[in-house]
């Protein structure tokens, strides 16, 4: 198809019609969703059964020092876990996104799978993954370390993968064509087109992922299962131990170290990286207000990094590019037509068949496990799911109620925004799970303290997403609309009803989607916690999951995890996705 003709200026283009569902694909997509979802069940079962069967021989104890002197070492431990998990996530996400974007058949499965994996609360796997890893590596340290890394990885990989995938899908046609006509090899295309084009999205999503990683890391480091102490030396366990012992001095030191690590990471890693990524902005004209960074300038001047790049990385990459180029040339000479397609398709079918068999077996075993539970058990599970549902949504509501007015106030006033932005960012960067022991310390003596603490944890873990998005939404409301509201003398009520709420709606929905997922995750930590040598718990699905893993009730653990995953996926599908569609059609501010 020829691209649509550019319209002359006096004939403004027609507005795009509302997205039209491709009805013929719907049935297919549904089947694929189901198949994918069922396979996820099977994988969950796999993780748990490995965990259960190797449960026995694990012997663990953990010694966490409370001396502030050990903090730098602990901070480093935590940082290494985060960075290793991030590195694995990045590589995996690049591969996943690349395959999903380049292979139509893989795309059919990988993208719905990504969607589901993204919405499943990762922390519900915490017990299973930890047990499996400890069992896999009898040397305790390695197993638990790997467990925490895997968990952080599962928490942060999906949005990076999705970002890469959607970047690849939106590479402009002319650039793609230029790469083809100038005979770029796959490698050169990846290096000089795909990767640079995706860099900005990758950077922002990496920042979000790593921030989320802290949340999971803290939970992992504090993890205690029944009488097995899986705690890892790190900032999370330090804070937890300090709070458990009521050691306020250590607590302050710990929080200080946490903030310091996060601020340093921001200043030393993310800021320079963002400034550097500016080069990859896809724009034809240089925009004003370019990101500059003194550290980056310093690096760019003659420095070790630059020399490393010139001497080592550049020649290696160049050599590889030439190697691939000659490889492509030889391939073009030897094969007239692509002949390798047939056996590959055959292999694909074999793999698909094997995969299907594994899935069927997993589902069969899952059903077997689930059948052991009685109706009363299920009733109990659904009741606790209901309680957690209420708690999560109450937390969201409270979050929305305070963040909307504050966010709009910040967004409408540039001066206020400049003042508040760093404060809010700092507050948001402290992982809620790190604060949880501190909150408990103060609330534990109150009646219903754990209830309040659980809500607070959910709030802390989620309100920032809403706040940031509301601020962005308020800032995006065009000045002329605000002026129109003024000219027509809208009262406060009308101003909110006709201008502000519709204006921030798409942003609000985006924030709430993320917040909802975060709150469900938080429920697992928040409702059940080992503290001061005993267990504090509030009724709910999260607490059911944790206590089932404590007690080794495998089938309850499996059932409750599956229920939570199902509930979250259903809420996403039925509520958030619809609101999202509404936001992107009716409430989209278009110029």
């Amino acid at each position: 198809m020829p691209s649509p003709a550019p319209l002359p200026k006096h004939l403004t283009p027609l507005p795009p019609a509302a997205a039209r569902p491709a009805s013929s694909h719907r049935a297919w997509a549904f089947l694929i969703d189901i198949a994918v979802f069922v396979s996820v069940f099977a994988v969950i079962f796999g993780i748990y059964s490995i965990g259960r069967s190797w449960l026995g021989p694990v012997k663990v104890e953990a010694e966490i020092s409370q001396n502030p002197r050990s903090l730098p070492l602990y901070a480093m431990y935590s940082l290494v876990r985060i960075l290793v998990a991030y590195a694995i996530s990045l590589v995996f996400a690049l591969a996943y996104g690349y395959v999903a974007a380049k292979s139509k058949r893989a795309e059919l499965v990988l993208i719905p799978l990504l969607d589901i994996l993204q919405s499943i609360p990762v922390l519900s796997f915490l017990p299973g993954v930890m047990l499996a890893m400890v069992a896999l590596f009898p040397s305790r340290q390695l197993g638990v370390e790997l467990g925490s890394i895997i968990l952080i990885f599962t928490g942060q990989v999906w949005n990076i993968a999705f970002s890469f995938y959607s970047s690849l899908k939106t590479v402009p046609r002319d650039l793609r064509e230029a790469a083809i006509i100038y005979r770029f090899s796959r490698w050169q295309r990846f290096l000089e087109l795909d990767l640079p084009f995706s860099t900005i999205g990758l950077v922002w999503n990496s920042m979000m992922s790593v921030a989320g990683g802290w949340f999971f890391l803290m939970a992992c480091e504090m993890f205690v299962l029944g009488d097995k102490d899986f705690r890892l030396p790190g900032l999370g366990s330090y804070l937890q131990t300090a709070a458990s012992n009521g050691n306020t001095r250590a607590l302050m030191w710990g929080l200080g170290a946490m903030v310091a690590v996060i601020v340093l990471m921001d200043q030393l890693i993310w800021r320079p990286v963002i400034a550097w990524a500016d080069k990859f902005k896809f724009e034809q004209v240089e925009s004003s207000g370019n990101a500059h960074h003194s550290l980056l300038n310093f690096i760019r001047r003659e420095s070790f990094l630059i020399r490393m790049y010139r001497r080592i990385l550049h020649p290696v990459v160049d050599w590889m590019t030439l190697k691939f180029a000659s490889g492509a040339k030889r391939a073009a000479e030897t094969f007239a037509a692509p002949q390798g397609a047939r056996p590959r398709r055959w292999i694909g079918w074999v793999f698909a068949g094997l995969g299907a068999m594994v899935v069927v077996y997993g589902v069969y075993r899952t059903i077997g496990e689930l059948a052991q539970l009685h109706r009363a058990d299920y009733f109990e599970l659904l009741r606790s799911a209901g309680i957690t549902f209420l708690r999560v949504n109450l937390a969201l509501l409270i979050g929305a109620i305070w963040t909307i007015p504050v966010g709009v106030a910040i967004g409408f006033s540039p001066r206020f925004a400049r003042l508040m932005q760093p404060l809010v960012q700092l507050a948001a960067s402290i992982p809620a799970t790190a604060l949880f022991p501190v909150i408990l310390l103060f609330l534990i003596r109150l009646r219903g303290g754990i209830e309040i603490a659980a809500m607070l944890l959910m709030l802390l873990g989620t309100q920032w997403y809403i706040l940031f998005n509301v601020i962005a939404g308020a800032m995006a409301i065009p000045t002329d609309l605000k002026e129109a509201a003024q000219v027509f003398r809208f009262g406060t009520f009308d101003r909110w009803r006709h201008l502000i709420l519709p204006g921030i709606f798409p942003y609000l929905v985006t924030g709430m989607v993320t917040a909802s997922g975060g709150a469900w995750n938080a429920s697992i930590v928040a409702e059940y916690f080992h503290f001061q040598g005993r267990i504090v718990k509030a009724p709910g699905l999260g607490s059911t999951i944790s206590s089932a893993s404590d007690a080794g009730h495998f089938n309850v653990l499996l059932a409750s995890t599956l229920i939570m995953a199902t509930v979250v996926v259903l809420i996403n599908r039925l509520v958030w996705r619809r609101l999202y569609r509404l936001a992107s059609t009716r409430f989209k501010l278009e110029t």
Binding site: P2, P4, P8, L14, Y182, Q188, E192, Q284, V285, A337
Partner: protein
Amino acid sequence: MSSVSTGVEPIIEARKLEKFYPQPDGNRIQVIAPTDLAIYPGQIIALLGPSGCGKSTMLRMLTGLSPASSGSVYWHGQPVGGETPNVSIVFQSFALFPWMTVIENVEAPLEARGVAEFERHKRALRIIDAVGLDGFESAYPKELSGGMKQRVGVARALVVEPEVLFMDEPFSALDVLTAETLRGELLELWLGKKIPTRAIFIVTHNIEEAVVLADRIIVLGRNPAHIHAEFTVDMAHPRDHKEPQFVELVDQIYRALTRQDHPEATPAELQGILAAKQKRALMLPHTRPGGMAGLLEILADQGGHADLHVLADELSLEVDALLPTVDTAVLLGLLKLEEGDAIITPDGEAFAKGDIQERKKIFRAAVLANVPLLRQMEQALKAKANRTLPAEFFQDLLDEHFSEDESRRQLETAIQWGRYAELFDYDAASGKLTLTEI
């Protein structure tokens, strides 16, 4: 089509090349009718036609970027596929990699061909010098003006010493003066034999550009794209816009572009084209009624009669941009075209002079008389007790005749027109059309 068979072997030759999209119901959407085309050494060929007529698709099939639905492309007599032809493309949007400097952009195609770093650098510098980019080697594209960017595009295309240089509307994103300069520079490289390129194939919608540059001009017609006329330009360079021969040729091409019939087609080809036309549903030009009103007003002010060429000039538009609006007015019977002149009809006159309510009335009558789709929509809505139907219903009808994108645009246009004619209301949130009761 018998082209200038000089006895020379063509570099690239297309035989019965066509592009269509098969539909599930067995019909096909024909984008390009079977076309023969040859590129001979030593020529600049211009492919001329209105936007959206399939020029770019043609270029992409000739270069092997886009597969042909039927027919084949030969490269020195060998079918393209086993062997990749040595060609380059200069893109309308420049298609430079924004994260690479000028020299990196120019070196990238050499890198892809396995040229080692030192040699690569040398060759890139030489061509950068030739296109006048000296001193800009380490600049990023976003620091450059449009003209400089396209110079990089040309340098990148020439650095691989292509046998044929393809250019896809290379100067249309530039301002008039810059475009003129770049055209001059291109001719200088070509005529001065400073580049080893043996032929240039340029796609454009700008008639004067084609006449300034080309030795052969191929005019494409629309729906589906087909070769409509061909002109040989026998003028020495540099060609002067004011020269009578130049003006005469531009005028001839104008007439060819706006003519509705197919004077150059053989009877058999003509029959094929007509059959294809009948099979296809009437295609609405994508314009708003407001734009057409403006055109009719201007025309009425000028006594109801004007040369399209002149009209376009006055509006500082290219004829190409004016055509959809003209097509709309012609389709609705408010305008007639005769030999490149636009003549307003009595209905059109009334429309131009009327106030908004009268205009809507005329528009409504014209639409119902001339646009089968809107007539169908009205009847379908009338047949329903609640006078309401989902827009999707009509979308499905349109899908039988058009590609998915096109059918969506067709429906959007139909809804715009129907709303203006007050035939029906459309609620975007529910996607429902409701008949307007009078």
